[in-house]
């Protein structure tokens, strides 16, 4: 019954206790912080999983914070879709933390508790964004997640610091625009609760205020999500940050923002809105096409593995944006599937690259010669992630792309379908270039052997095995989670 709030409270309390313990106990406290952080995330993940099963069997839950009924108080709304996202966020954060829990020795002395505190706060922020049913509360959660992300991403070197400041400037403008959009909705409806706003706006005739509010709010979310013209912060910030930080934020931030866009479209805004502004929708889909192609082209030019992944991510953002605005349920299904699939495969790829960086100290593509012989397990997981990213059938990436392409064809948008397929072909080129190097070339003399450290490899293998599993479960996910969410909407 208290599960929705407990999912968020565990990482929050974990962060407080981590900081308090590190500064209160003379020597022992600092050593115990890692188990506390892992424990907090594990409890949160357990709550999320239990919540998902509950929601699937007994239906959505609305948790009233402070016991106040919805339009007056803040509520957490957990329906199948947000329960699934809660599981994705908490499990992703947990796996990534376990995989990188060996790195603290490399971190500046005394900063491990602060790092873990910020890591937990970022996770809690993302969990809250997913769970909340209040548009202003969502803004505050965005800021909790964002502030801790800025700090986490600034850790490694001067390039990272500068990139992080740029991210801060862009991200704050994005969040402020979102807040502005919320203000417009408040002027029009007088409420902040998502369901309440939806019912009020549906009863009112469509006004300029609602339309502008919608546009400004979406603009803010696109900035936070790194849609093409506003994408510059993403490769800069994620490619230069420490592996542990980018492994958390690259899979989560853009996907959670995509979820918010989907949530706004299917829950908050009246159904006649998108129909009433078809010009806007088609403009957004074109923008998505540009984002996909630009991301693919820029990815080809990269010499650094992580930068390349970041630009592929920019293209993936285009997939999700375009699918959400195509305006039919097949495409929306594809978008939601792709949020899930992309979170899983980005996590796999960033985790694998992070382990490569931690072992060899480099993420340049030319340093990957013979990696299949030196780090076989990591490379196998990398291959799984890559195949999923390309869209090879048993992996989950295939199914989401299938739905996106068929949605595009259903809407008659040939260009979107075409750019989707084009970017998949580019992914083939990009990844097979790497496989060729790693498989056929001889490793350099100084190459490190992949010692079987279960702590790193177990989470990686787990998430890599999950990729085909999610793919095979696609039918169930659509039936149990996506169709109820889209019922009566599209």
């Amino acid at each position: 019954m208290q599960l929705p709030v407990l999912t968020i409270l565990f990482p929050l309390f974990g962060a407080f206790v981590t900081v308090a313990l590190a500064w209160s106990v003379r020597s022992g406290g600092r050593k115990n912080v890692m188990p506390i952080a892992v424990g907090a995330l594990a409890s949160s993940a357990a709550c999320a999983v239990v919540l998902l099963t509950q929601v699937l069997t007994t239906g959505s839950q609305i948790y009233l914070l402070g016991g106040w009924a919805p339009p007056w108080g803040i509520s957490l709304v957990v329906d199948p879709l947000s329960a699934l996202m809660l599981v994705v966020v908490s499990v992703g954060a947990l796996l990534n933390l376990i995989a990188f829990s060996f790195t603290p020795s490399k971190w500046p002395l005394g900063k491990t508790p602060a790092f873990l505190g910020l890591y937990l706060l970022a996770t809690a922020g993302h969990l809250g964004i997913v769970a909340t049913g209040d548009v202003f509360n969502l803004f505050v959660f965005i800021e909790v997640a964002a502030l801790s992300s800025y700090a986490l991403l600034s850790m490694e070197g001067r390039r990272a610091t500068f990139a992080s400041l740029n991210y801060l400037l862009v991200g704050s403008v994005g969040a402020s625009l979102y807040l502005l959009g919320v203000g417009y909705l408040y002027i029009e409806s007088g409420s902040l609760n998502m369901l309440d706003i939806a019912s009020i706006l549906t009863a009112l005739p469509l006004s300029t205020t609602t339309l502008t509010g919608f546009a400004v709010l979406m603009l803010g979310l696109w900035v936070k999500m790194a849609v093409f013209p506003f994408h510059a912060w993403l490769p800069a910030a994620y490619a230069s940050a420490s592996p542990a930080a980018s492994g958390l934020l690259a899979p989560l931030t853009t996907k959670v923002m995509a979820y918010v866009i989907v949530r706004m479209l299917i829950t908050v805004f009246p159904q006649n809105l998108l129909a009433g502004m078809s010009g806007f929708s088609s403009m957004v889909v074109w923008l998505a096409c540009v984002a996909i192609i630009a991301g693919a082209i820029m990815a080809i030019a990269q010499q650094d593995l992580r930068r390349m992944l970041c630009f592929i991510l920019v293209a993936e953002v285009g997939y999700m944006l375009g699918g959400a605005f195509l305006g039919n349920s097949t495409a929306m299904t594809g978008t939601i599937l792709h949020i899930l699939a992309d979170a899983a495969m980005t996590l796999t790829l960033f985790m694998a690259v992070g382990i490569i960086i931690a072992r060899t100290g480099s993420s340049r593509i030319q340093d990957m010669d013979g990696m299949f012989t030196t780090m076989p397990v990591t490379m196998l997981a990398f291959v799984a992630g890559a195949l999923s990213m390309i869209g090879v059938p048993p992996f989950c990436g295939f199914f989401s792309k299938w739905y996106l392409v068929s949605g595009a064809l259903e809407a008659g948008h040939w260009v979107f379908a075409g750019s989707l397929i084009l970017s998949s072909l580019v992914n083939v080129l990009l990844f097979f270039r790497i496989f060729e190097r790693a498989f056929f070339r001889k490793p350099s003399v100084a190459a490190v052997q992949d010692t079987g450290d279960w702590q790193q490899l177990a989470p990686l293998c787990f998430i890599a095995l999950l990729l085909p599993a999610i793919g095979l479960a696609t039918g169930g996910i659509i039936q149990e989670i996506i169709q109820p969410a889209l019922k009566g909407v599209l």
């Binding site: 800021e143 502030l147 500068f162 801060l168 400037l169 704050s172 403008v173 402020s176 807040l179 902040l192």
Partner: protein
């Protein structure tokens, strides 16, 4: 159709917020100095706070603190408290963002010995 002056008189708060917001946006986009960019960000965020607070205004109403011994409470007598609550939170958020931003700028200055964006970019390309 209302006259332009009438529209201006009844909507001056919205026009003021847009003007301030654009000042902030311009400062963020056009200035190269990182501190000036942060000042621009501050102006940008403040304009949104102004918009919210001005939504709460009611003609002839007083601050949302109930008078002592008030027996009948009519919502028309007190201005809307909700925007104030929201903006209190937003102000705190913007203060926190500014603190983190200044910390980042200070670290950038330590690394690059400059807070001019173009100089830093030149240095990074080298």
């Amino acid at each position: 159709m209302h006259s332009l002056g009438e529209v201006f008189a009844s909507h001056f708060n919205y026009i003021a917020y847009v003007a301030i917001m654009m000042v902030g946006l311009y400062a963020m986009a056009a200035k190269s100095n990182l501190i000036k960019k942060l000042i621009g960000l501050g102006i940008f965020q403040t304009s949104i706070m102004l918009l919210y607070v001005s939504i709460g205004a009611k003609k002839g109403a007083t601050i949302p603190i109930l008078a002592k011994g008030a027996t009948t409470i009519s919502p028309a007598d007190y201005i809307n408290p909700l925007p104030h609550v929201l903006m209190l939170t937003a102000i705190v958020v913007s203060v926190a963002t500014l603190g983190v931003a200044l910390a980042l700028v200070q670290k950038i200055h330590k690394h690059f010995n400059s807070i001019e964006e173009d100089e830093i970019l030149k240095e990074l390309r080298r």
